[in-house]
């Protein structure tokens, strides 16, 4: 099996050739520390500032509101802990959702251990946060609302503009984890009243190990990393120049091709969804059909278990992921699938295929061809399927 059919772009993406070309010099030729005063180092500093402007432009922010980080996880940690630390004297209540990435959920749990109270909003069957639930959860001591822009597992895009409007009206800060959304769907931090936003490089064809946190001007936030005066004194550590340059280039490229690329990916996505739902019995699409990331497919297959599906897909060169317990390292399946109301057994049989810029329609056709026999093969050895057939007189 030589060809790799990579359908796990929500996990990470390939660095694009354009990004690779732009950053390659900054490892061996122009490797200087941007904090140094000599001319070559100052050139590196300019590059970092150019990248900052590119990131800012991509989300409608001012460059002074963009702070580079080591990735999405650090951005989430910094936003939530930094705000809790800075505004904890005003209130100790935080609102988030039950389907956040662990970088947000576990950070909130950490803050609970430090005396903060956290409300985890439920979601509807599509994975959407209901604004009425949000309104009901707001208290006088609520200091932060953190709701993800789009979910990494089921691809549901949350009503960010509505949530932002509510947060602004109530004078509560609003953070969104936009790791899956940035560069994939239009974002305007002002129009959407976003106060803090996490971005990751390696989900949009930049290298791993770089991300950014947008912090609206005027917001107080405590530092997560203490040390030097980088990032205007807010985030210490020598700048990851190649990573930062790569993130700038990647997000600019993503935004400039967003319209056609979104349409192309959505076409491939819908083809896979329609075809699989039609050719395989007893399966369902997880997440919203319409408010959905253009590259996300998430389907639950009854009577089979996700890791088994992944292993058989892998034997065919297809890379995908699942929300089954066996792939999470615990006995419980994905918290996202449970939150949208899936019973455990259906959550165990979930498959996520995430389409990216480098996937072709031919690759999708290959997946569409290989997947149904794999499900059938696993069902043939499943006692649950046997039981179902007996109970329904299909045998």
């Amino acid at each position: 099996m030589d060809k790799v059919y990579y359908f796990d772009n929500a996990a990470t993406t390939r660095v694009s050739p354009e990004v690779m070309e732009e950053i390659s010099d900054y490892f061996t030729k122009s490797y200087y520390n941007p904090s140094s005063i000599y001319t070559p180092a100052q050139k590196c500093k300019e590059l970092v500032e150019k990248a900052r402007k590119r990131v800012a432009d991509a989300v409608g922010a001012d460059p002074k509101e963009i702070y580079f980080t080591s990735g999405g996880t650090e951005a989430d940690n910094w936003a939530i802990k930094g705000i809790a630390d800075a505004y904890g004297h005003k209130g100790r209540h935080i609102i988030t959702s039950s389907i956040e990435h662990h970088a947000v959920l576990h950070t909130c749990e950490y803050l609970e251990s430090k005396g903060f109270e956290v409300t985890y909003l439920p979601v509807d069957e599509d994975g959407l946060v209901r604004t009425e639930d949000l309104l009901a959860a707001i208290r006088p001591d609520t200091i932060l609302i953190s709701i993800m822009f789009a979910n990494n597992e089921i691809g549901t895009i949350e009503p960010i503009e509505e949530i932002g409007a509510i947060a602004k009206e109530r004078g509560i800060l609003f953070h969104t984890d936009a790791v899956q959304a940035a560069g994939h769907v239009p974002i305007d931090v002002n129009k959407m009243n976003i106060d803090l936003m996490s971005i990751s490089g390696h989900k949009l064809y930049a290298p791993k190990g770089v991300g950014a946190l947008y912090i609206r001007k005027g917001i107080k936030i405590k530092n997560l990393l203490h040390g030097g005066q980088q990032e205007r004194g807010r985030r210490a550590t020598t700048e990851n120049v190649p990573g930062i340059v790569g993130l700038g280039r990647a997000i600019e490229d993503a935004v400039s091709h967003m319209e056609e690329e979104t349409a192309r990916q959505a076409r491939i996505r819908d083809k896979i969804i329609d075809s699989v739902l039609k050719s395989v019995s007893h399966c369902r699409l997880n997440g919203s059909r319409t408010k959905r990331l253009p590259g996300n497919v998430n389907i639950s297959f009854e009577f089979v278990e996700g890791e088994s599906i992944l292993l058989l897909l892998d034997m065919n060169g297809i890379c995908a992921s699942s929300g089954s317990a066996c792939t999470s390292g615990s006995l419980d399946p994905s918290h996202v699938l449970l939150a949208i109301g899936l019973p455990h057994e259906k959550a165990h049989g979930s498959l996520r295929l995430t389409i990216g810029r480098f996937n072709t329609e031919e690759e999708a056709d290959y997946v569409i061809e290989k997947l149904p026999p794999i499900i059938d093969r696993l069902r043939q050895m499943s006692p649950l399927y046997e039981q179902y057939l007996k109970e329904n007189g299909e045998k």
Binding site: F303, V304, E305, G306, E307, S308, L311, L312, M315, S324, A325, C326, G329, L331, P333, H344, E345, H348, Q380, M381, S382, P383, L384, Y385, E386
Partner: protein, 146 residues
């Protein structure tokens, strides 16, 4: 790959998949909630396991341990069959990742459940065989890999 070649072989080419219509004993263990169900069928004559089949809902390790457990039990006397522990199944598969050890425990339990069913149906007592627990989630002290 997280699994040994043997595990992958038994996952990709599972031995003894299916059912035995007139099985002497059938054991089903696990539950859909935790993601693994194993059903093992045994054909026993004159105190010897002549045939074994299985059906399994679960991950790669669950399928592979079912396959190996049925392979190991075939041709064994009941006394010998009781000596097939989860460790024996794991060793025969060249090991399992630590988080998959519970699959081998489930395979051992499925064999015991099938033997228990056989004993009950025939009104006999198999020395050293305890009534199986059908729900793995109730086990607090799952053995860890050494």
């Amino acid at each position: 790959m997280m699994y040994s070649e043997k595990v992958m072989d038994h996952f990709m080419n599972p031995r003894n998949v299916g059912e035995i219509e007139d099985a002497s004993g059938v054991g089903t263990v696990g539950n859909a909630k935790c993601g693994d169900i194993m059903k093992i069928f045994l054909k026993i004559e004159d105190g010897v396991v002549l045939d074994a089949k299985f059906k399994t809902f679960g991950c790669g390790a669950a399928v592979a341990t079912s396959s190996m457990a049925t392979e190991l039990i075939k041709g064994k006397t009941i006394k010998e069959a009781l000596e097939i522990t989860n460790k024996a199944v794991m060793e025969a598969l060249d090991g399992l990742p630590p988080i998959k050890v519970h699959c081998s425990c489930l395979a051992e339990e499925a064999l015991h459940a099938a033997l228990w069913d056989y004993a009950e149906k025939n009104g006999i007592v198999i020395e050293g065989l305890e009534k199986p627990v059908n729900d793995i989630s109730e086990h607090e002290d799952l053995p860890q890999e050494e």
